[in-house]
């Protein structure tokens, strides 16, 4: 079948009102779900899954993909408005989005988040359509040693989000790494810091840690200083993002999109590291570097581009290899299987109409996301006008419900509370929270891939340099470290 025939077959599948409607409904559910902390994109997809069983396969899958993409964008709404990431992927958006909201520019930040998300989404979809085969074969050349090198490099992001002091950033990261060791050991299955508690055996729940670290300290700060906000306007603001700003951030958005595509096409990384990597790259390259972390719109653009860039690309390993790239696509694979579709190379032969139908639907989805997202921002406008001393108890209650719902476990609520105090104390000592979070995500991956590599090689470290991919990332790591050291020394000389 020629390309034209395939496209036509795809069009025949999705060129109807129902397919379009499924996509719209999916995106609406996703944006709302993503905007509610604790529901997150993952849970929204899991919740929508059973409803797609009776639908036509293509419509059901489009609905789920809509939820996915909507959810990743929706997470940025509470991240900006109430400093609570709706979905882990939007944690990086907090860094500059929330300071903007505190300045009364929430509308501008949200607008930029939407533009960046849609652009990245579009880039990501194009990458899926044109480079699926190539990127998928590339993804399969990532074994544990390659992962180890990649993650080691990604950890250098910490320097980019450490703020004023690299050492304090490192301390924060170490705390994250240490807390991430709680749970069962990967290789031997023995207990680490579990104190015999079955709840700790599973490790600390990531979302509980995330919300505890960002949202709860805000509540505690309010308790410490109930009138600290008086006089500061927290409003959506009349200022809207302008096209000139979009143009200024365009390079960062495109860079972020490609970072997202790259990390998304490799199974097992996910959207949060992509957002942080995109953010730190944008910071490194931007002329407004000093402004990052204090409400720089380019930071919002880069983070949102990074996480939405992942959303299309995770479908690359899914469609081309049948391997889920992250938790969300693992659930979406369930929808394929229920309809008797088996994702993998043969699907491009057997169900080419569905594949092209999906591609066409995905292209549409970026546009629909733009419209739905715009409406959602207006819908959430009232949040910015709630008096802060009523808003904070609301945030607390919302976080309790949300964190419980993630794993149906009251213990996680306790984890969130405890992390809230950790976050509060860190804030008092000017220790940035972002390195903690990155380390908490990447630490276990680093350790696991290191040990898997050692298992593969029987303990010989040579395997860590086994091929061009590892060399590439080791080189990048060394370059980053040299650059960071030089930057720190220069800053030290300037200060001293």
């Amino acid at each position: 079948m020629s390309l034209f025939d395939s496209v036509m077959a795809g069009l025949a599948l999705v060129g109807n009102f129902e397919a379009f409607l499924s996509l719209v409904i999916g995106i609406v559910i996703g944006v709302i779900g993503g905007a509610i902390p604790g529901i997150s994109a993952t849970m929204a997809v899991a919740l929508a899954l059973p409803f797609t069983f009776p639908m036509a396969p293509i419509n059901g899958i489009l609905l789920l993909l809509g939820v996915y993409k909507g959810g990743i964008f929706g997470g940025s709404i509470p991240a900006i408005l109430i400093k609570t990431p709706g979905t882990p992927a939007s944690s990086a958006t907090i860094l500059d989005g929330h300071p903007m909201a505190e300045r009364g520019e929430a509308g501008r930040a949200l607008g930029m988040a939407l533009w960046a998300s849609c652009t990245a989404d579009f880039v990501s979809n194009l990458a899926l359509i044109f480079f699926a085969g190539f990127l998928a074969s590339f993804a399969l050349s990532f074994g544990p040693p390659e992962f180890f090198a990649l993650i080691l490099f990604s950890l250098t992001i910490i320097a980019g989000v450490s703020g004023e002091s690299l050492l304090r950033g490192a301390l924060s990261a170490l705390l994250g790494l240490l807390l991430a060791t709680i749970g069962l050991d990967l290789v031997y299955g023995t207990n680490r810091f579990t104190f015999g508690d079955p709840n700790l055996m599973g490790g600390l729940n990531f979302i509980a840690v995330l919300i505890g670290l960002f949202a709860i300290p805000e509540v505690i700060n309010m308790v410490w200083h109930p009138t600290g906000h008086v006089g500061k306007v927290q409003k959506l603001g009349s200022k809207w993002v302008t096209f000139a700003e979009y143009k200024r951030c365009f390079r960062s958005i495109i860079r972020g999109s490609f970072i997202g595509v790259f990390l998304g096409s490799i199974p097992g990384i996910g959207a949060a590291p992509a957002a942080f990597l995109s953010y730190s790259e944008a910071r490194r390259k931007s002329p407004n570097r000093a402004n990052f972390g204090k409400g720089e719109i380019e930071g919002v653009a880069a983070s949102e581009a990074g996480n939405n860039g992942v959303a299309g690309a995770t479908l690359i390993p899914l469609l081309a290899l049948g391997v889920p790239g992250d938790v969300i696509t693992a659930i979406i694979i369930g929808a394929f299987m229920v309809h008797g579709l088996q994702p993998g190379p043969m699907m491009f032969v057997l169900n080419v109409d569905i594949i092209y139908g999906l591609f066409i639907g995905l292209i549409l989805s970026s546009g629909i996301l733009f419209i739905v997202g715009g409406l959602a921002i207006r819908g959430f406008r009232p949040v910015a006008d709630i008096p802060k001393r009523i808003l904070m108890p609301m945030v607390l209650v919302l976080c309790i419900y949300g964190v419980f719902a993630v794993n149906n476990n009251i213990f996680d609520v306790g984890v969130m509370f405890a992390m809230g105090w950790v976050g509060f104390v860190m804030g008092r000592y000017h220790i940035p929270a972002a390195p903690f979070l990155i380390a908490f995500i990447l630490g276990p991956l680093l350790e696991d891939n290191f040990r898997q590599s050692m298992l593969m090689s029987g303990g010989s470290p040579d395997i860590l340099l086994r091929g061009p991919i590892t060399w590439f990332f080791w080189a990048l790591t060394v370059i980053s470290i040299v650059a960071i050291t030089r930057g720190t020394l220069r800053a030290g000389r300037a200060a001293g």
Partner: protein, 158 residues
Amino acid sequence: MQLQLGIGAILAALFLILYAIPNWVSSPSNVRNIVLSPLFWPYILGGLTGLVGLGLLLTGRQRIGGGAPVNEPIDDPRQGMLRLAAMAVLMVASFRVMPWLGLVWTSMLAFVALAFLVRTRHPAAAVVCAVVVPLILYAFFAHVASVAIPQGELVRLP
């Protein structure tokens, strides 16, 4: 402040290396390769924490007086500490009471307590929100998202 942090990090590292890791991380006796041991990574982290602590200590001494900006001052730190203590009690109490009282009723009480703890200027609105918000969230999570929100032993909601 940097000095405090540095000392804290070094103490934490010593505690980890000397007490916490040997006692709270179990490792099988038949580990063939040291790098594969469950203890390997925690020890590295403990060591790095110590190094960072040392770094903080040294740079802190260099830049005495300068460095980090002071936190926003508040009028009465003693009352602030009292409020923080109250918040801690509130959190522990909510966590303990939750399985017995259910998520909805606990949230309502926590909402009111917190709103009055921060001395809201809209007490009536706070009480209304305290009742309405948990109920709306309950309706959403239990009936739309079908999450089994803990109901407690006393009053069950439909």
